[in-house]
């Protein structure tokens, strides 16, 4: 479980960074999205990886912290997702505006000289 999760985070973050460093603005935005997934998974994993335990206190269960998943990272991830979604949407608008102004999808607004 830990291995799969860490591999997933690693692959997402690695691909994200590679795309982020590419010259096309569309690649940059996809890279940013991939990094945001990796970050969200990472925050989630910081509440310790547990299976089959509820994050909300259940009166049927004993009052023992080990019976529950940590609810805080889940709340943080929710906030982070919303913020990342909003900023990515905004970035998309800027990207399209830049494309419209410069006529190219290069991040610098002009093609690199060959």
């Amino acid at each position: 479980m830990e291995l799969i999760l860490s591999l997933a985070i690693g692959v997402l973050a690695g691909s994200g960074v590679w795309l982020l460093l590419r010259p096309r603005s569309f690649q940059v935005i996809i890279g940013l999205s991939l990094i945001s997934y990796a970050v969200n998974l990472f925050i989630f994993s910081m509440g310790r990886v547990v299976l089959g335990t509820p994050p909300v206190i259940d009166t049927q269960l004993v009052a023992d912290a080990s019976q529950y998943a940590d609810p805080l990272p889940q709340a943080l991830v929710l906030t982070a997702i919303v913020i990342a979604f909003a900023t990515t949407a905004l970035f998309l608008v800027i990207l399209l505006a830049a494309r419209g102004f410069s006529g190219t999808d290069h991040v610098d607004g002009k093609e690199a000289h060959k």
């Binding site: 943080l76 900023t87 830049a98």
Partner: protein, 544 residues
């Protein structure tokens, strides 16, 4: 302290939030309504900041221990609930925000708020994010308020549109999104190790960590530091700054001056809390000082090389960040007090300078390449043409050229740090404190700091002197612009504030030194936050 007074600490966040939201309801055409709301909001924030200053210093009666006011949102005790904390440091930043906010806002109402939609709501949200970042007592809310102010700043940086702005905005947004992800990663790591995000609680728990946990915590803190350094424009993380600031419209660039200082504030706040248990890298001198010196060097080179006045002002902002980092990270000496004085002065001076530059450029003949950005903003319409609405509204001030020239000289003196302005007081106290309190003879660090700070002043004189000569003396067909009171007023307000700072430098310096002492021993902050009891009745065993 009962009644409505106990809710004062949260007002700097609530007022702009409500006013900004109300503005969205008002039609964009109803300018008078938006202006009224904007003024009410900024006046309210200034009044709150002054009242909080009174409470934190003890001029007003309060039950705040050591001048630290803790506001429990939702009335849950820390570290479980979210807290807003007012202390001497955050009060200074709140006051600075509202002063600069007022000046830039008045300037914007003269013409710039009409260059695009939703200027006023975005401006309020920017102020809300700034105030929130200065008030919050936990890391995650620091991230949230950073995002609030950044989201608003993305909108404002693009205000007026145009190719140069959008292109610079693309880089600005991408860099800041990456910085936000770093902030999240750092926060998650710190939470994973310590199990807390409350800054006071973190400071208490960090000392108990050892072995691998401590190393993980240090790595988390280092990533946190990198994220803050990106916001604070430390070299080599500041290449986004000159293009963004130089292309933003004048009032926006002016208010952006305080945004880099949010990064400095965050470094200072978290650094001071973690210091007693061993400051992690990036918050300690061994990293901050060289970074500061490198930032200074980069700023100096950029300043001398920059052709446009706006770019020069942007490099001055980088120099100011570099000076602050070098001073705060100076090994062996605590220069926090003078550094805070320098921070306030440089924010006010650079804010005034950005506002002034736009007015100065109107003296240049129409079509000069310096105006290209503004032209695009106005859809290639001549901003000085008689049929544009600018020349009709408002009261024009007499002796426009004299005003511009004098203000330019005042700003240049302030930024370079020459007498009689407060920039000189700031740099002088900084350097004299560095020399005096160094143990024994001043070390290499002191001489490095001294050399670079003085040399940066010289570079400012060279660059700004050259620009001044070009703008005021060597142009043959200078147009005498019509300046309205609402444009000249804010610049005078900022400059006179700095003059007042140099007149009352003594009391202000004493206050800032007390702030530095208070930051040096963070137990007052930690105790105040962790022992604050909820207002409602809680069973004693439920309290931490």
């Amino acid at each position: 302290m009962t009644g409505w007074m106990q809710h004062l600490p949260i007002l700097p966040v609530v007022i702009p939030l409500i006013c900004g939201a109300l503005m969205l309801v008002i039609r964009d055409g109803n300018r008078r309504g938006r202006l009224t709301l904007g003024f009410v909001s900024i006046a309210g924030q200034s009044a709150t900041a002054i009242a909080l200053l009174g409470l934190a210093t003890g001029y007003l009666p309060s039950d705040w221990p050591h001048g630290v006011g803790v506001y429990l949102l939702g009335d849950w005790p820390a570290p479980f609930g979210i807290v807003a904390v007012v202390d001497r440091l955050s009060v200074i930043m709140l006051l600075l925000t509202s002063t600069l906010g007022l000046a830039a806002w008045i300037y914007a109402t003269a013409r710039w708020d009409r260059a695009g939609v939703h200027f006023h709501p975005l401006y309020q949200f920017l102020l809300m994010g700034l105030n929130g970042a200065f008030l919050t007592g936990d890391l995650f809310n620091l991230f949230v308020f950073f995002e609030v102010l950044l989201a608003a700043s993305y909108g404002l940086a693009l205000h007026g549109s145009g190719r140069a702005r959008v292109s610079a905005g693309l880089h600005y947004v991408a860099v800041n999104l990456v910085a936000s992800f770093l902030l999240l990663i750092a926060m998650a790591m710190i939470y994973g190790v310590t199990g807390s995000l409350n800054m006071a609680d973190l400071a208490a728990r960090a000392g108990e960590l050892s072995g691998p946990d401590r190393r993980l915590f240090e790595s988390g803190a280092a990533i946190l530091g990198v994220a803050f350094l990106i916001k604070a424009a430390a070299w080599p993380l500041n290449f986004w700054l000159p293009a963004t600031y130089a292309n933003a419209c004048a009032p926006v660039a002016a208010i952006f001056m305080i945004m880099t200082k949010v990064g400095v504030y965050a470094m200072l706040r978290i650094g001071s809390l973690l210091l007693p248990t061993g400051a992690p890298a990036a918050f300690g001198g061994e990293w901050m000082f060289p970074l500061g010196i490198a930032t200074l060097a980069f700023g100096i080179i950029g300043l001398i090389a920059a052709p446009q006045p706006e770019r020069q002002a942007s490099y001055c902002a980088i120099i100011s960040s570099g000076t602050l980092f070098a001073a705060l990270g100076m090994p062996g000496v605590t220069l926090t007090g003078p550094a805070l004085f320098y921070l306030v002065t440089s924010v006010l001076a650079l804010g005034a300078f950005f506002l002034l530059l736009e007015m100065v450029e109107r003296t240049q003949a129409f079509g000069a390449d310096l105006l290209a950005v503004s032209l695009e903003a106005f859809d290639l319409e001549d901003p000085e043409s008689p049929d544009s609405s600018d020349d009709v509204v408002g009261v024009a001030i007499p002796a426009a050229m004299a005003f511009l020239g004098l203000s330019f000289v005042a700003c240049a003196l302030l930024i370079a740090g020459l007498p009689p302005m407060s920039g000189f007081v700031a740099k002088f106290t900084l350097l004299s404190a560095a020399v005096q309190t160094a143990e024994g003879t001043p070390g290499t660090g002191t001489w490095l700091l001294m050399g670079f700070v003085i040399f940066s002043g010289l570079a400012c004189i060279i660059a700004l002197g050259r620009t001044g000569i070009r703008l005021f003396w060597s142009v043959e067909d200078t147009i005498v612009p019509r300046l309205r009171l609402s444009e000249a007023g804010p610049v005078s307000l900022l400059i006179f504030t700095t003059i007042a700072m140099s007149i009352w430098a003594g009391p202000i310096m004493r206050y800032l030194d007390q702030t530095a002492d208070y930051l040096g021993s963070p137990s007052a902050y930690i105790n105040a936050v962790l022992t604050q009891h909820p207002g409602r009745d809680v069973a004693p065993e439920a309290l931490p």
